[in-house]
């Protein structure tokens, strides 16, 4: 009985210790941003590996999510004789929810895991310690550019996801199922609000970008420096960031809409 309690307490303390370390790390990373500005090429290289390399998966999934929305939405709406509102359904679900959330989940799987593995391996092979020996702050040199790159890439990826999805929905709805092209766009424009829908979607994707890269960078930096530790950290990155994205999405939606 006491043992279970002790275990519970120990895991609780461990959790809060990790949370504290994560926050201190975030403060360090953000503190490193000003010294990053004259060396933007570091960030550019990270945007390449975090953003550009995630582009393919985002484009393909965005297209197919949009096409599925078009197909499913049409089948439901046609029962009510209101298939003209297909554009509204596709665009609102993409811009408000699916764009930021699915892009963030894919981003966590594609880019977050890679970040964690990279930083964890740097730690395991003592590259980070070597940097410290050379009086280079590894947080500023390694972590800050990766964090900034995630922060910049994620909203762009989510926007691309939504835009491609809307086009995919148009392709299925208008091209294959015969919804009127003008109605598809005009109903969409009449119902989607720039501030309520698009801005809030962008804010969501920025929050997700910060959280996912934060988790990925922290897990890598905090990993046990063995091959097993790195593999565990990578798994944790994907699991935790997916859960946090879904949970935060609910909270943000409750606040915004």
């Amino acid at each position: 009985m006491i043992d279970t309690l002790q275990q519970l307490g120990a895991s609780g303390i461990k959790f809060f210790q990790r949370l504290g370390r994560a926050n201190i790390l975030l403060a360090h990373i953000i503190g490193g941003i000003p010294s990053m500005l004259p060396r933007l090429s570091l960030v550019v290289h990270q945007i390449y590996s975090v953003g550009v390399l995630s582009l393919l998966i985002i484009l393909v999934s965005g297209l197919f999510v949009g096409m599925v929305l078009g197909l499913q939405g049409y089948n439901i709406l046609v029962d009510f004789g209101s298939e003209e509102t297909l554009g509204v359904m596709v665009s609102l679900s993409l811009v408000r929810e699916l764009g930021p959330v699915v892009a963030a989940l894919l981003f966590a799987g594609r880019a977050g895991s890679a970040l964690t593995a990279e930083i964890g391996l740097m730690k395991a092979t003592e590259q980070l310690s070597a940097m410290e020996m050379m009086a280079i702050d590894p947080i500023r040199r390694v972590l800050t550019p990766r964090f900034l790159a995630g922060f910049i890439s994620m909203p762009l990826l989510a926007a691309i996801f939504s835009a491609v999805g809307v086009i995919g929905g148009q392709f299925v709805g208008v091209g294959l199922l015969g919804v009127d092209d003008g109605a598809y766009w005009s109903q969409m424009q009449a119902s989607v609000d720039l501030y309520d829908d698009i801005y809030n979607g962008v804010i969501k994707s920025i929050v997700f970008g910060v959280v996912v890269t934060w988790i990925a960078v922290f897990e890598g930096y905090d990993a046990i420096p063995t091959s097993e530790g790195v593999s565990r950290a990578t798994t944790r990155t994907v699991v935790h960031s997916s859960l946090v994205v879904l949970g935060l999405d609910f909270i943000l939606t409750a606040i915004m809409f």
Binding site: H45, Y48, V52
Partner: protein
């Protein structure tokens, strides 16, 4: 050379992302409808505005010429006060214009339809429309319809 390639690709990526945002803003949302927010405001009192929302369309002859900018309740006359913002280029509406609340389609959105009168004077900012017709409440209509049948049966 390699650095140049990554930088070009990153540039392309950022441009594509911004283009996607731009497309969402221009093509998907109502930005182009909002482009000229400026206009003059008139008010109208309605007995019932159920279903009408802020930003609902205000049309004349089926063409959208403005939007509902505010809906409030007047506790003295127990009426709804609707503020309507009409675009500046439509400044020749006669003073005795009437406003009615219509429904687009059977179950569609409510909107305000304006009908021009014959007055020589034009509506100005903060003017008030005198003749209004309320929103159609489906339950009231049905109950009236049913009542008329009951009356017939009695006779």
């Amino acid at each position: 050379m390699n650095t140049r390639k990554t930088e070009v690709l990153v540039g392309l990526f950022i441009a594509a992302g911004l283009a996607a945002l731009f497309m969402l803003a221009m093509k998907v949302s109502n930005l182009n409808i909002y482009s000229n927010e400026a206009g003059y405001e008139i008010t109208a009192n309605f007995e019932n505005v159920s279903g009408l929302k802020v930003k609902s369309a205000v049309t004349m002859a089926g063409v959208r010429i403005g939007r509902v900018s505010d809906i409030s309740f007047d506790p003295e006359n127990f009426e709804a006060v609707v503020k309507i913002r009409i675009e500046n280029k439509y400044n020749t509406l006669p003073k005795d214009t009437t406003a009615s609340i219509y429904t687009a389609g059977l179950l569609g959105e409510k909107y305000i339809g304006l009908e021009a009168g014959g007055d020589e004077e034009n509506l100005k900012d903060q003017d008030k429309l005198k003749l209004t017709q309320s929103s159609l409440v489906l339950e009231k209509l049905i109950s009236r319809f049913v009542d008329s049948f009951i009356d017939k049966d009695k006779k």
